[in-house]
């Protein structure tokens, strides 16, 4: 639990979920609904997309497609975190709950904190970290919902700027290899170009190509 309080990202999450609670209130969703979305969806961008698309009158199918595209990033995150959690005896079902908790924050924190945790305790550690973060976010969602009435625009802008700042810096901090640094830089540079194509899956295209180029450079240097 100490790791929950020691991370800047917890503050960022808190502020983000204040924003989500307020957004849900303004889009006329019930408090129970938005709390359930925090509990079950557990991914900030997906919830913002879900609430804003449904709130603007889109159909369920349109909202589902938008959420699906935003959630693809969870797949490589899960694949890269799970090997750190596993021991040879671990059964797949023991990892289901830990898998549900994996989102950007937990992904970044696992790379930072798990190496200091003995391998056989890592699943328990992840459950604890996940539950701690989730409780903080449920509280923030509730608080944001209650405060929503009239948050000033500047406050809203400051909250929304937190996400890119914290994501960028915490990812940069965790870069271990050349491939990670290149992937981050190329990913940032490529998205604005790809987004001009308006494909609807711009992030997926720019992410897979930038990541693959970064890996190719890494591979080529290994061969030298």
């Amino acid at each position: 639990m100490r790791s929950v309080t020691s991370t800047v990202l917890t503050l960022v999450l808190f502020a983000t979920y204040l924003g989500i609670g307020a957004l849900a209130h303004d889009s006329h969703f019930s408090l129970g609904w938005v709390l359930a979305s925090t509990l079950f969806v557990w991914a900030g961008p997906a919830q913002i997309i879900l609430i804003s698309t449904l709130g603007s009158g889109a159909t369920v199918v349109q909202a589902a497609i938008a959420v699906t595209v935003s959630a693809i990033r969870l797949f490589p995150m899960v694949v890269s975190v799970l090997p750190m959690l596993r021991t040879p005896q671990t059964k797949r079902r023991q990892l289901v709950l830990a898998t549900h908790f994996i989102a950007v924050t937990l992904w970044v924190e696992c790379f930072r904190l798990l190496p200091q945790v003995p391998r056989e305790h890592r699943i328990a550690f992840t459950h604890g970290l996940g539950c701690g973060l989730l409780s903080v976010c449920l509280f923030a969602t509730m608080l944001g919902y209650g405060l929503a009435a009239n948050l000033p625009q500047l406050f809203g802008a400051a909250i929304l700027l937190l996400t890119p700042l914290a994501f960028l810096l915490s990812t940069a901090r965790n870069c271990r290899q050349l491939a990670d640094v290149l992937a981050l830089v190329l990913g940032l540079a490529l998205f604005p170009l790809i987004s001009m194509l308006h494909t609807g899956v711009d992030i997926l295209i720019s992410g897979v190509s930038a990541g693959t180029v970064a890996y190719a450079v890494h591979w080529w240097r290994e061969q030298e």
Partner: protein
Amino acid sequence: MSDFFGDWNALLVLLLAGFLPNEVWRMIGLWLGGGVDEGSEVLVWVRAVATAILAGVIAQILVQPPGALASVPDWLRYAAVAAGFAAFLVTRRSTLAGVVCGELAMLAGKWWIG
């Protein structure tokens, strides 16, 4: 109870449009990632792709800002993030210093514009 959650319809929508499209990627990861070794080459690639997709999400928020962030001019958003990154480097990779400086730069810029 029904006041708290709203009607069952809304919860069904949450399940179909929120929970399932999101959770399916985690479970595919659990299912397919089952046999991958830590330290294997595939994982270097997978991590690079995850990092680059996240970089795309960051870039999207900055280039196509949602809601209230759109009230901050383009140059100020980029300048604030650059200031945050500079503070992060100067403080030998302190995320807190970077986030605080970035936010202060944005607020100072807004105040200066008026």
